[in-house]
Each structure stands twice: as structure tokens, then as C-alpha cells.
Assembly symmetry: C2
Homo-oligomer: 225 residues x 2
Amino acid sequence: NLLETPEGLEMGGELRTITILTSDLRGFTSLSERLSAQEGPQKVVSILNIYLEAMAETITSYQGTIDEFMGDGILVLFGAPTQREDDPERAVACAVAMQLAMKGVNQQIAELGLPDLEMGIGINTGEVVVGNIGSQKRTKYGVVGSQVNLTYRIESYTIGGQILISQSTLDRVRDITHTNGEQQVSPKGVKEPITIYSVSGIDGNYNLALSQEKETFVVLRETVP
Amino acid sequence: NLLETPEGLEMGGELRTITILTSDLRGFTSLSERLSAQEGPQKVVSILNIYLEAMAETITSYQGTIDEFMGDGILVLFGAPTQREDDPERAVACAVAMQLAMKGVNQQIAELGLPDLEMGIGINTGEVVVGNIGSQKRTKYGVVGSQVNLTYRIESYTIGGQILISQSTLDRVRDITHTNGEQQVSPKGVKEPITIYSVSGIDGNYNLALSQEKETFVVLRETVP
């Protein structure tokens, strides 16, 4: 994929509208410290790697670009380096598939006698600067801009099993995406409150739905101060 | 360095007391969006790379392990993968050297006709799980634990030019480190308020001091609600 846009990459800096997906395991830091004390630090890394392996496989199958693993967090780009018309819908479908893949992850983790993991996902579409960022010895394709920060903020409102998307993403996937809740939130660094939407499934070529069981946990129209 | 502890790495998970340094450019996201609009996205990547190149050079010379570049943010480990007795003091000395290196960075950036960058640095010492984290195709040596999160929180209290360190780091470098201020803060995820200290210089083999000009900007004993 990197070879598809060699000039763009060498130029080192381009403005792009992309769809950004961030995920993390809700409550994992405190879980990891309990596990480390009770079962040993190897167990922490084992379950993290079971989770990241499954997520990487799912993300790759939806042609997402994994930009970063940070502990239990993942930053994924749809639309960079390669831009496709269906970037936003692939991102939403990928998120649903990631949540569904947690079932298999938790089965593997249960076999180790360890408790379930719960993941939250935030998705947002907006303009960012993409390019090769870093030092001579350590360059990577990365993104900069407030839309990246906003995606992390949106993700921070999730509970386990939830997918929250911004208005700008919803506008691009509305025809095929099912939502089952919305919230007004005021993320740090954003002037006006914004509305974010909880995704329950996606039709089109994807035909994926979160289980009913999960949906009942979705918080509806709660205003975060 | 990776070869020094091959067993530890293969085991994939070890509890370690390390000193963690995080830095970022204060206000860079909004600056980057103004720059992108006025001067083009290439300029954003250019100044980011000038900054990261200089910082990578400084960090390497203090034997810090660069774990991550995230946009304008840097995560550095002292004590992993290789542990040394002087990890905490090398981290503090590295931070002072990084702030001093910003002068050269800003000279290069001024030559491009662009405004000064200001960096904040947080440092903390604590127990974390280290190991090879990721998927089969994409593994990296990384860290997990609340002490990593706490370091980011400490950094978030900095203003440009400032270095803030936790009590646990200060306790290990007290004999040679000069501070010129302290704050009580209540970071998210921490039960009791903690005290953080503003570093103005370090003696010992390092003999580095921030300029007086910077020190006058340091906020003393401000309580963050």
C-alpha cells in the first residue's frame, strides 16, 4: 500500500480527509495491575497479545492501516496512505467486526482462567495532515491534527462493547448504518457540544450487527457535563 | 541494547521499576492547523521532523529508549530494556538537555519564517509491565501500567519550557537536582492529590541548567482543582 502513493509520502505532508478509528480496553490498566500482582506480568502481556492479534487480523481484513499500538490502545486510519471511496463505511464495519471478534478473544482468555475484556471504539471523519513523521533513524507514516484528538475523546465516552461515531462519520454512512442511541457531549478542546451516535450494526455488503445483549447496555441520550 | 536481555524479551512480560519521560509541544495541534491552512501541510511535517530529529539525538545520547512518537508526543523509557543504576538521573538530565536543544530547533524553524515551538516534559518513576506487545506481524517492546498514564498526566500540567517530575523521581535524584517550584495536583485516576516538582537544573556529571528566562515562567505552588 505504501507504494501506491510514493510522491505523497516523499513530500512528507498532505492534507487528507480520512476516517480515524481508535479502540481500547475499558478498565484495562487497573485490571492489568491486579493480574500482574496475582498471576504475574507474563499473563498481562499474554492477554494483551491475544487481543491485539485478533484485532490486527480484523483490521487488516477491512483494509485499515494500523498506525499505532499503545499498550491496549489501537489507532487505525481509513483513507491513508491509500484513499478509497468507502473509507467511512469500511471503518464502521471494521468496528462492528472488532466487537464481534471479542467473543473469540474472551474464549481464549477464559481458557487461561482470566476475566473477560471489554473494548470501546470511537470513530470520526475529518481533515488531518498525514506524512512521514519522525527522525532520520525512526520515521513512520503518521497523522497530526485536532480530528485525531477528537477521536480519542469520542472513544473515552464509550462503555465496554460500544462503538461511538461522530456526526461527520454518520453523515457518510447513514444509508446503511443502524444506531441505537445518541449523546450530547462537550469534549475538551471543542467549543460547542457535539452529538455522538452509538452504532448497533451495518447493512450493505457487510451485514453485521452487535448482539442484542450488548445493545441493552447502551446509554441513551445521556448528557455528559 | 535489545540483545542484552534476550530471555526477558522472549518471555514477554516482566515487572520493572523504570523512569518514564513523556514530552509534547504545548499548543501544537492548533498551531499545526493554522500552519497547514496558511503555509501548507508540508510545513507542519517539516517543523515536526526538525523537532523530532533534535530530540531523538538528545535522547539517544542519554541512553533513553524511544518507545513511541505520536504526532508531536514522545514516550521515552529509562530502565527498559536495559536497566542501569542511574536511570532516574539520566532521565532528568535528558529532559534538561532536551529543553536546551529547543533553542537550536527554534533557530532552524525561524529560518523557515515560522513561530517558536514550546515543549513540556513529564517524568515519573514506578513499576510497570514491560514486554513485547502486539500481533505476530507487528510486535514492539512496550510498557503497560498506571504509572505510564500518570506520567502523561504530569506532563499535561506543564507549560512550555517546563519539566515536571513526580515525588518518586525526585526521591531518586534529590542530591543533584535543582527544583524551583512545586504544585499539588489531582490527576484523573489517582485517589489522593500528589505533589509534582519543577526542575531547573541538574549537577553531578551533567551540570545542566535551564536559562533564567525560562524559570521566570514557572508557575509556583498553584493548586489545580
